[in-house]
Symmetry: C2
Subunit: 161 residues, 2 copies
DNA sequence: CAAGTCGGTTGCTTGATGCAACCAAGTGTG
DNA sequence: CACACTTGGTTGCATCAAGCAACCGACTTG
């Protein structure tokens, strides 16, 4: 996106999009949710330009959506984790994922299935377990490959720690 | 956004963002949901450049998210409506709205409240009525100004027809 | 009959994105 | 001990999208 702000718009959707509405931002959040924590992993799995990934991560850290932690001092090496604010984007991602599944389907079926870790039930577009009925959050669910997944699909079975 | 596609990404979130992830697209959908149906209304309420609005609407019509109907033959005048596919973006918008409210709050409280038309209950971030517990869709809810709304807030009390 | 309305389009400038090359500080390999 | 490789970026450049203002065509209103 060009300017990331929507000046004068008194709207919480606009406020949200000012922060995560830039191209790639939500996909980076999703990628970290799927346990791609390192710069190179994200770059490769998303196919994003390195300079753009760098600037997006910087912004996401500024906005307290992502946390950057060193796992090695020398040479300096970093991993990126979602904060609570970042994890709270899960319902929006689930809603978008379901919309994408419904309207850009693969012939074989959903690319991914979201399941409730505790009971194994599938998760609805509202992030609710269809078996036990609980309203779930990011940590309660995991992703498993669905019938429409490509074989070389990135990082299957990921979970949030 | 520059290129609107995310080539090689086997992910329904990416598929969704290819369609509605460009800057302004979701806000245009939201604007039509709030009964801004005409070019000039949307342009003014969003503060978007006219050429950009024009190209976004064209794309949204192509993608069958928005429908363009003439309400006058001569001079040709048009109104834009959401299709079912467009209305199905409601859960994602609600999720983003709630996230925006939580993390970019006004001191006074939410800018907007979403209420269930039928029973008047407030609607949760999952699009569920907090009074009667029903899972709602776009047509079941309406928006009313909340305590954090600016006085000149656009089009209050809008509903979906 | 001049000014306003509506729904755009055109041209120009600015700025974001994509791509490839480069860099720095290590580590592993013969 | 030299040389390639890994990781996590930065830099420079070309291209494409967004913002802005002006214009336009077909009416309608005063």
């Amino acid at each position: 996106m060009l300017r990331r702000d929507y000046p004068g718009l008194d709207c919480s959707v606009a406020k949200a999009l000012e922060v995560i509405g830039e191209r790639w931002s939500l996909l980076i959040v999703r990628s970290i949710m799927h346990s791609n924590r390192r710069f190179g992993e994200m770059q490769e799995s998303l196919g994003i330009a390195r300079n753009v990934l760098s600037s997006r991560l910087e912004r996401l850290v500024e906005e307290d959506i992502v946390e950057r932690r060193a796992y090695s001092e020398s040479p300096p090496r970093y991993e990126y984790f979602l904060t609570e604010k970042g994890l709270d984007l899960w319902p929006a991602l689930i809603a978008l994922l379901n919309w994408g599944d419904r309207y850009s389907p693969t012939p074989e079926g959903p690319r991914r299935l979201i399941v409730h870790k505790e009971c194994g039930g599938t998760v609805s577009d509202r992030g609710i377990c269809e078996r036990c009925g609980k309203v779930l959050h990011a940590r309660d669910a995991k992703q498993v490959p669905g019938p429409g997944a490509k074989v070389e699909a990135e990082h299957t079975g990921a979970t949030i720690d």
